[in-house]
């Protein structure tokens, strides 16, 4: 991908609030028709970064371009659909009215019925916003973002506060939007969400980008291999092993060879491998290896 494919380009962008450096010389680009996830713990600088791209905050250093134009430019706003973190609508507005409110500002908005269908709210069209569950309110937020028929979609912590079922429904919706040709820039502190949805992930911590690549490549490079865990004594299978609080963890790049070897040894020694399981590395492991600490959920 060349820089010309960059729908959004950030170069050495910084933002300070007094003595606090919220975003520290961050550079990346979001390519067209990809889902790009900026992932990190609370306070890492995700929302500050995405809001600078949306034009809600001004960077103190560096440059940001959206489709070659400055953030906040009226032509850029025509292309954008934004789901703001912590935003809400009027409790006494019906769902369809929430979608109607802002679409009039755009040159070519989508019909309300089409948006309702897209976000699965057709049956709730006449329900008051104040009566909706948290999951449905988030769908309204996405619906409002989609109403403008944007090519660029910004989603800031879209799954926060959702139960697992609602979260998965949200993921399906986002993947569907990508199939329709949208470019999606999202932030999340759920590593699993980034892993499932994103074409590329950028991990941010304390305002700095510490890794950027596809989830698969990040896991391959930083994930540390598979983990075989069980409750029982250490059995040496020639791989790095840890033992803590009665639990043994074996790190291996070849679980298909290590597991039969482990079980064979355990049988020979008549050792019971309680709770034996094999875990593949994920982005949580990547974050742990890169920062030395776990993501706080």
């Amino acid at each position: 991908m060349s820089i010309e494919d960059g729908a959004i380009v950030l170069e050495s962008v910084s933002k300070r609030y007094g003595d606090v450096v919220a975003v520290d010389s961050v550079s990346f680009q979001v390519n067209r028709n990809e889902i790009f996830a900026l992932v990190g713990p609370n306070g890492a600088g995700k929302t500050t970064t995405i809001e600078m791209v949306e034009g809600l905050r001004k960077p103190d250093g560096g440059t940001i371009t959206v489709n070659g134009m400055a953030p906040g430019d009226r032509k850029v706003r025509e292309l954008m659909g934004v789901q703001l973190q912590d935003s809400a609508f009027y409790d006494k507005a019906r769902v369809k009215e929430c979608l109607q409110m802002f679409r009039g500002f755009y040159a070519d908005p989508l019909p309300v019925d089409e948006v309702l269908k897209e976000v699965g709210l057709k049956e709730k069209a006449n329900t008051y916003y104040g009566k909706l569950s948290a999951g449905l309110k988030q769908r309204v937020a996405i619906g409002v973002a989609l109403s403008s028929n944007p090519s660029l979609l910004f989603l800031d912590e879209i799954s926060t506060g959702l139960d697992p079922q609602a979260r998965r429904a949200m993921w399906d919706m986002i993947l569907n939007l990508k199939k329709k040709g949208k470019t999606i820039f999202m932030t999340t502190h759920y590593m699993e969400e980034a892993e499932r949805l994103a074409d590329r992930v950028s991990i941010i911590d304390h305002g700095k980008i510490i890794a950027l690549d596809t989830p698969k490549n990040l896991i391959k490079e930083f994930g540390g291999g598979s983990r075989i865990e069980y409750e029982g004594p250490v059995i040496d299978v020639g791989e790095k092993t840890e033992h803590l609080d009665g639990k043994t963890i074996i790190y291996t790049d070849k679980p298909k060879e290590a597991v039969p070897q482990l079980m064979s040894e355990a049988a020979n020694r008549q050792v019971d491998l309680r709770g034996l399981r094999v875990e593949e590395p994920n982005l949580e492991d990547v974050f742990l290896r890169l920062t030395g600490r776990e993501m706080m959920d």
């Binding site: 034009g55 009226r74 706003r77 006494k92 109607q100 409110m101 802002f102 679409r103 755009y106």
Partner: protein, 233 residues
């Protein structure tokens, strides 16, 4: 066209807010009828009722909307749609004006049923309603600009609302003469006095230029403070 759909939805929501409809429409009617039946007649109290509608709609409800819209992120959202926050203010102002006028029409309709007449110029009355609406909206905007905390802004608005409401209906003669110079400069008092002259046919806007200047002073002063202190988030 851009703000029209926003305006339409906003207006529908306004009428669904039962507590605001009660305070802006039902309560002034009740107070006019109650006070008027006990003394001085409905015609004397009608201007106070109109002032109260303007006060409730243009100051209290308007301020509450701005403050809660800030909290909800509605105003913030105007920075990411192809429009300006000024469009939001224009829509909110238009909704407030229209709601105020509709509420006053309902009040006047009730008074007509009760055989209360407007002796003076209706056009002049409308002009004062406009002036009063903009003055109280400017007052609300000033408070929203000066007081950043939404809870504190609503508390201050309630504290201001009570005396402003009292002087919609209470004759000035009921208060110690030493207070009169201060009371006369509260925005609800000159507005009510001008409208009383118009409703009862005892004077015109020209005869009340002093009161009109007080209103304009409040409007310009509050608008200037609001312009320098108001923050969109």
């Amino acid at each position: 066209m851009g703000g029209f759909e926003f305006f339409c939805v906003r207006l529908k929501i306004q009428f669904r807010e039962v507590e605001h409809v009660f305070m802006t429409i039902a309560l002034p009617i009740l107070l006019v009828v109650l006070n008027g039946s006990m003394s001085m007649g409905l015609q004397w109290f009608l201007p106070g009722g109109i002032t109260m509608v303007i006060l409730m709609s243009g100051f209290f409800v308007y301020l509450e909307h701005i403050v809660s819209d800030k909290e909800r992120g509605i105003i913030r959202r105007m920075h990411v749609v192809p429009t300006s926050p000024a469009t939001y203010m224009a829509c909110e102002t238009s909704v407030t004006l229209l709601f105020t006028f509709l509420s006053i029409c309902i009040l006047l309709g009730m008074m007509t049923i009760l055989s209360v007449k407007i002796e003076g110029s209706v056009l002049s009355l409308m002009a004062m309603i406009f002036l009063g609406s903009f003055t109280f909206m400017a007052l609300g905007s000033m408070i929203a600009g000066l007081i950043k905390s939404t809870g504190m802004a609503m508390t201050v608005s309630m504290l201001l609302l009570v005396p402003l409401m009292i002087f919609c209906f209470a004759p000035l003669e009921a208060f110690p003469s030493g207070f009169e110079p201060f009371i006369r400069f509260l925005p609800s008092v000159p507005l009510t006095e001008v409208m009383r002259d118009l409703v009862m046919g005892t004077g015109s806007i020209v005869d009340n230029l002093g009161n009109v200047y007080v209103m304009l002073g409040w409007l310009v002063g509050c608008a200037l403070v609001a312009a320098t202190t108001f923050r969109w988030e």
